[in-house]
Structure formats: structure tokens, C-alpha cells
């Protein structure tokens, strides 16, 4: 096992990883920027190294400075957390070149996961269902019509250079496709400087459901069940749960098998997530592989009893998967609410400042992952995620009741947070019945635009 690990991140996820290391008896090195001297992760580590100024590009993304800190402190491995350098193939390679173990997938895995089209082709070849689309860009309305007939209406026209939901047109029949096609092309040109468009099947009533996987150096792979991540705002997840109220045991089995096939096809290593869309009729489609530990990993930890960060470290060290993981039974129901320092009443504007009064919830069934403490001043430079509150009980209804009670207890004053929004969602009849799709949040913010002007 490693004797010293450097944690190349900040905030709640750095705290999370440091705790796992401490429990494994591994000494720890934290890194921090000039703005983060008082952040909790710095206090919890055995050593801490300042790696640069407040701006992330000069500190938490500064590869040279981080590698230098690892060498100077004698760390043997680096855990990247999520975000920042977690999915950068060049960083994983640079670690290897310096004789440091990158705790995560291989550089090749990171490159494949980063190229969504190649990833889609790779897993499709292994028999995993993907969203039907034109194989390449399309030039003429006639060609578009021919392909739309093959994949079936409704279809969407998407700009190849687009992203984040921009440059999308929905066509329900061939007439609207013929009308919209030239307009979509012109729009793509104007918005992205590239008029290439392609056609994809529209997934109706979509839900976002992902599977946690673990793979060892010997190619043994398991999945640890799913996470339901459909409750989102602007592609940012708000609430996650495991299991998903949508999946039947049969769907869980076939999606779990597909997740493992995807991992094998990608020659994946270590912990990862295979994301799927599930449509209104229960068909599922591969979206992408997230080659990192995810923000919402604790919901899986609660229902499986497996510490995923410790598993990442063991796998990176070359240990084989524990065969007991094959026999895991999911236990009860877990829900996570992401607490962001944002004002839900003012278009989710960030709410920086000092935490003057801090009263965290506790009690039966509660887990709280956070870097907050009384007197902590939130820097303006970093993400607004300040806490992940989790509830676990034998049933979904029980977990929701625990979560509501805990949200009501939680005081982070005077910051504005997403706590009041979570309380509203947890009383919504559709949410309570587990009936929702990715546009659920529009119910609460019907006038919100997809993009600002």
C-alpha cells in the first residue's frame, strides 16, 4: 500500500479523500491556493503545500507546481478528486513519467472518455445500445430525410460544434425536417462558425441513470448498482438517489451488464461511471463514460456499504477486486441533495461570504460531506458546491422524511443556499411518486431560459 498520497483538489472532495487515506493509515499531503489557506482540507492533512495564486489555472490546474509538491513531500501517488485535473490524460501521463501513481483510470481511458463520438462507437461495437444518429455530418435535406426514416421520428437536428443544449431543433415529421434543415445549418454557421449538423433520435421523457463500475488491473469488473440523476437544472445535477425508482430488477440487470460491457470494450481501469438515458418506454441508451470519482458517489456507498475512494486507492495500488463485491446486495434507499451557495430566488446567483452561524444536521440516517465550518469565508474563486447532504433509510419514503428533517435543521447563515429549493422538491407529488424526467425543474422555474443572452 502507498505510504503517502497527495490530494490534488480542494473543498469537500479533498476532505473526503483525506479521510479515506487516514483510515487506511496513509499519510497525506494537501495542496492549496493562496485563497484557500483556511480551507478545511488544509487543516485535515498531515502536510500542506501552497501551489500558487487564487486563480485555479495557476494553482489547482498547475501541473508543474503540483508534481513538484509531490516530489518535495515524497508522495507516491496523487488522487485528483473530481474536476480540475481528474480527467486530464496529459496529467495522468505526467504523473507516470515522474514515477507517481495517478489514482484513477489510465491515460488512454481518459482520452477515450473525453472523445464522446469515439467512446460511443467503441461501446456500440460491443453491443451496448447508443442513441441512433447519422454516422457523420449531413449536407442535404434529402439525406436528412432518408436517415430520419431509418431511425424513426421524432428526431433532432444538432450542430456538430454545439453543446450544452444549444443549436438543437426538434422535428416530428418529414415536412418539419425539410423546413428546419436549412435554417438549422444557417444557425449553426452563425452561432458556432461551422455549419455541420447531424441527426439524432429524440429520446422522449428522458431520465438520466448511471451505473458505478469498478475494474481491477486483471480485467475483473463489477457494477455497484445505479444512481438516478434526473433532477437537474441546466445540466447540473441537484438531487441523486440509489436505487432508481424507475428501474425494474430486469432493467437493472440488463443495464448493469451493458455498463460492464462498455467498461470492457473501453479497456477501462479503476472506478468509473457509465451514463445512460432511459426513455419513457424503458429503453436505455449509452451516453458517456465519466472517468473519475463522481460528486454523487456517496449514494452508492450508502446502499452498498463500499467506500469507493478506498477501492480506487486499492485498485491503483494493483490489488485485485474483492470477490465479495460480486455478491453485493443493495441495502435500503439513499438520497443526496447538493447544497450550493446560490440564491434560488435570484436566478441561482452565487452567494459568497462568511459563514457566521453554522449548525449541521445529524441523527439517524444522515451523512454530511462538506468543508464548511463556522467562521469559514467562501472564496469567490471556486465552485459553489458547499455540502452534500445524504439520507439513508430502508425505504425511499423513509429516506425522504429523514432528508426533509435534516434540511430543516441545516443552518448556513447568512449565505443563500439551495436548501429551500430542495425542501420544495421533496414535497412535490411527482417527485414523491418517482415520476419525473430531465425537465422536472421547469415546473419550479417555468420562465427560465436555457441560456442567458
Amino acid at each position: 500500500m502507498f505510504s503517502k498520497i497527495l490530494v490534488a483538489n480542494r473543498g469537500e472532495i479533498a476532505v473526503r479523500v483525506l479521510r479515506a487515506c487516514r483510515e487506511l493509515g496513509i499519510r497525506t499531503v494537501a495542496i492549496y491556493s493562496e485563497a484557500d489557506e483556511h480551507c478545511l482540507h488544509v487543516r485535515l492533512a498531515d502536510e500542506a503545500v501552497c501551489v500558487g495564486p487564487a486563480v485555479s489555472t495557476k494553482s489547482y490546474l498547475n501541473i508543474d507546481s503540483i508534481l513538484d509538491a509531490a516530489k518535495r513531500t515524497g508522495a507516491q501517488a496523487i488522487h485528483p478528486g473530481y474536476g480540475y485535473l481528474a480527467e486530464r490524460g496529459d496529467f495522468a501521463k505526467a504523473c507516470e513519467a515522474d514515477g507517481l501513481v495517478f489514482i484513477g483510470p489510465t491515460p488512454e481511458n481518459l482520452e477515450l472518455a473525453g472523445d464522446k463520438l469515439v467512446a460511443k462507437k467503441t461501446v456500440h461495437a460491443a453491443g451496448v445500445p447508443v442513441i441512433p444518429s447519422s454516422p457523420t455530418g449531413i449536407d442535404t435535406p434529402q439525406e436528412a430525410e432518408r436517415i430520419a426514416q431509418q431511425i424513426g421520428y421524432p428526431v433532432i437536428i444538432k450542430a456538430s460544434a454545439g453543446g450544452g443544449g444549444r443549436g438543437i431543433r426538434i422535428c416530428r415529421d418529414s415536412q418539419s425536417l425539410l423546413e428546419e434543415f436549412p435554417v438549422a445549418k444557417m444557425e449553426a454557421k452563425a452561432a458556432f462558425g461551422n455549419d455541420e449538423v447531424y441527426i439524432e433520435k429524440l429520446i422522449q421523457e428522458p431520465r438520466h441513470i448511471e451505473f458505478q463500475i469498478l475494474v481491477d488491473r486483471f480485467g475483473n469488473a463489477v457494477h455497484l448498482g445505479e444512481r438516478e440523476c434526473t433532477i437537474q437544472r441546466r445540466y447540473q445535477k441537484l438531487i441523486e438517489e440509489s436505487p432508481s425508482p424507475r428501474l425494474t430488477p430486469k432493467m437493472r440487470r440488463s443495464m448493469g451488464e451493458a455498463a460492464i460491457s462498455a467498461a470492457r470494450a473501453a479497456r477501462y481501469f479503476n472506478a468509473g461511471t457509465v451514463e445512460f438515458l432511459v426513455d419513457g418506454e424503458g429503453r436505455f441508451y449509452f451516453l458517456e463514460i465519466n472517468a473519475r470519482i463522481q460528486v454523487e458517489h456517496p449514494v452508492t456507498e450508502l446502499v452498498t456499504g463500499v467506500d469507493l475512494v478506498k477501492e480506487q486507492i486499492r485498485l491503483a495500488c494493483g490489488y485485485p477486486l474483492d470477490p465479495a463485491l460480486e455478491e453485493l446486495q443493495l441495502r435500503g434507499w439513499a438520497i443526496e441533495c447538493r447544497i450550493n451557495a446560490e440564491d434560488p430566488d435570484r436566478n441561482f446567483l452565487p452567494s459568497p461570504g462568511t459563514v457566521e452561524q453554522y449548525r449541521p444536521p445529524g441523527g439517524f440516517g444522515i451523512r454530511l460531506d462538506t468543508h464548511l465550518y463556522q467562521g469559514y469565508e467562501l472564496p469567490i474563486y471556486y465552485d459553489s458546491l458547499v455540502a452534500k447532504l445524504l439520507a439513508h433509510d430502508r425505504t425511499r419514503e423513509g429516506a425522504i422524511r429523514i432528508m426533509r428533517r435534516a434540511l430543516e435543521e441545516f443552518t448556513i447563515s447568512p449565505l443563500k443556499t439551495t436548501i429551500p429549493l430542495h425542501l420544495r422538491i421533496l414535497q412535490d407529488p411527482d417527485f414523491l411518486q418517482g415520476r419525473f424526467t430531465t425537465d422536472f425543474i421547469k415546473k419550479f422555474y417555468p420562465d427560465e431560459e436555457e441560456e442567458e443572452d
Binding site: A54, A341, L349, P350, S351, P352, G353, L378, I380, Y381, Y382, D383, S384, E452
Partner: protein
């Protein structure tokens, strides 16, 4: 700050919250405005980045930019002065 005897009105534009002040839309592009520029109401003057969210700072009135009080890429506190605009 208003100059006595002048009929012009000086309007201050202050930071709506703390954040990093950017005068340019991107590092390789020219600033949104310079001192002496005439700006229309709601024209973008600068960006303010707070916790990775960018807000556009818009002119509250039509007029001439007579002062740029904040420096590019420097963190501001809530209510710090950013611009002074003189209305015609």
C-alpha cells in the same frame, strides 16, 4: 464626486456582489469600454466572475464613461465602485 455647477449627472456603477472584475470578454480581445466611450443603456461594460459564474455588468443609463475605477482581473468586494457614467 459630482462636480458642483454642472448640469451633467454622474451615475456610479457598483459591484452587485464580490467577484473578479474583467474588462474584456476574453484575454485576447479588446476591452468592452474605455474612458470617454459613449455607452447605451444596458450595454455591457464588464464581466464579474463569482464562484465560476459570469455576470454581465450593464450600463444603468446612457452616457459617457468618465471613470473606470476597478482594475482588470482584480477581485472586488460587494458594492465596490466599478464605473462612473456621465449622462448627457
Amino acid at each position: 464626486m459630482s462636480s458642483p455647477g454642472s448640469s451633467d449627472k454622474r451615475v456610479e456603477v457598483r459591484a452587485p456582489m464580490s467577484g473578479v472584475f474583467y474588462r474584456r470578454p476574453a484575454p485576447d480581445q479588446p476591452p468592452y469600454v474605455e474612458v470617454g466611450d459613449f455607452v447605451k443603456k444596458r450595454q455591457v461594460l464588464a464581466l464579474l466572475e463569482t464562484m465560476k459564474v459570469f455576470q454581465k455588468i450593464r450600463a444603468p443609463v446612457e452616457g459617457t464613461v468618465v471613470e473606470i475605477a476597478a482594475e482588470n482581473e482584480v477581485p472586488l468586494k460587494d458594492n465596490d465602485l466599478m464605473f462612473v457614467i456621465e449622462t448627457p
